[in-house]
């Protein structure tokens, strides 16, 4: 189980090897504080939705309607995000103010839907699903914080050609990080 967790966190990092959740990763990684807020919100939502979607998928299989799983997953995700937003606003307003703005954006973060798809295509059981969801969302948090901290330094010390500023350099950073993360392949405890 620890191997499984590590592989979803590092060697099969969901952002850097499977290239998921790129739009928010590029849009929100301009400073570490925002990146961390977004990352933590993603960890919570991904883990919750995977744990909820798994029994729903089993129910769909039982009734023979697993073709509609995409529709069911996306409704669950939208609902979880909405409920989480309402609950946080009411009971933990400080936390809501800290990453309330990122919550609605998560509905369109493909990491959330992808994790729910992977447990179907890869045939994980319930505990594997939970570990995989937690590990890969933590991996996404790691990736966005890494990119954000490099960009923060780059904004101060970097002297880039005009055309490379902004998005283009983020891709180059991501490429180098992806190469570095491929070094984790075959890691085991």
């Amino acid at each position: 189980m620890i191997d499984f967790f590590l592989s979803s966190l590092l060697s099969n990092n969901i952002a850097l090897t499977l290239i998921l959740g790129m739009c928010p990763l590029i849009a929100i990684s301009t400073n570490v504080k925002n990146a961390r807020g977004m990352g933590i919100a993603v960890v919570i939502v991904v883990t919750l939705t995977a744990v909820i979607n798994y029994p729903i998928y089993q129910l769909l299989v039982l009734t023979g309607t697993e073709d509609l799983s995409l529709l069911a997953f996306i409704i669950t995700i939208a609902a979880v995000v909405q409920v989480l937003e309402i609950l946080l606003e009411k009971y933990i307003p400080t936390l809501y103010n800290a990453f309330g703005v990122y919550l609605p954006l998560i509905t369109v973060n493909c990491v959330v839907l992808a994790v729910s798809q992977f447990f179907v295509t890869r045939g994980y059981n319930y505990s594997e699903t939970a570990v995989f969801a937690f590990g890969s969302s933590l991996g996404w948090l790691l990736a966005i914080v890494l990119v954000a901290s490099i960009r923060e330094k780059l904004a101060v010390y970097g002297d880039l050609p005009k055309g490379l500023r902004g998005r283009a350099i983020v891709f180059v950073i991501l490429g180098i990080l992806a190469l570095a993360f491929s070094g984790f392949a075959g890691l085991s405890v």
Partner: protein
């Protein structure tokens, strides 16, 4: 003469905006996940591009047809449901008629739902415009996306596998660049392409 008259019509502007000045990948940085993951072979790029075009076109059309009945608080969920209906359609179509492409695209077909291009066109264009404009806008946004995907794939496929559309183009003793087929190759190629295009079009961004 005709050409000049076309230039100033609304149709022409929609097409120009969605292909060039609003190109989803280069200018707005939308739909990147699949753009990077899928663009290692041209075949995948075309299949994915057409899938996204289809979904964007029809979900834009439906969103704008129902735009007067969608409550603004529930609009995101409504988009989601419309989009996922068409995505399931694409998924089943590929599974039935092109099983090999379906296998190599894997989970990314389902991820068309969360492709920001589809959602972005619904939110930015379809909700405010009549359906016949929305369908054109959706089609050309999808085509702009396909174009970029195919461009990136044209660079990556020969370098990663020595082939072009499945045909051997580079000599047999060419050492394939393994990293071109993986994530990092996609990042580098797209980054460099944006750099070249920005310098050429002189559209820079700050920071």
């Amino acid at each position: 003469m005709n050409l000049i008259r076309i230039r100033y019509t609304k149709w022409f502007n929609i097409i120009k905006n969605s292909m060039k000045s609003n190109n989803p990948v280069f200018v707005a940085a939308l739909g990147l996940c699949s753009a990077l993951a899928i663009s290692n072979t041209i075949q995948n790029a075309i299949a994915m591009g057409l899938g996204v075009t289809f979904v964007t076109m029809f979900s834009s059309m439906f969103v704008s047809m129902f735009r007067n009945y969608i409550p603004s608080k529930l609009r995101i969920v409504t988009y989601m449901i419309i989009i996922s209906t068409f995505t399931i359609f694409v998924q089943k179509f590929l599974q039935a008629y092109f099983p090999s492409i379906y296998d190599s695209l894997g989970a990314y077909v389902g991820l068309i739902i969360t492709n920001c291009i589809v959602m972005g066109r619904s939110e930015a264009f379809a909700i405010k415009n009549p359906w016949r404009y929305s369908i054109i806008d959706g089609f050309f946004s999808g085509m702009g996306y396909t174009l970029v995907l195919v461009l990136v794939a044209t660079i990556r496929e020969p370098l990663a596998f020595g082939t072009l559309l499945g045909f051997q183009v580079l000599p047999d003793d060419f050492t394939a660049w393994a990293s071109m087929g993986t994530a990092s190759g996609g990042f580098f190629v797209l980054g460099l392409m944006i750099w070249i295009l920005r310098s050429w079009a002189k559209t820079y961004e700050e920071a």
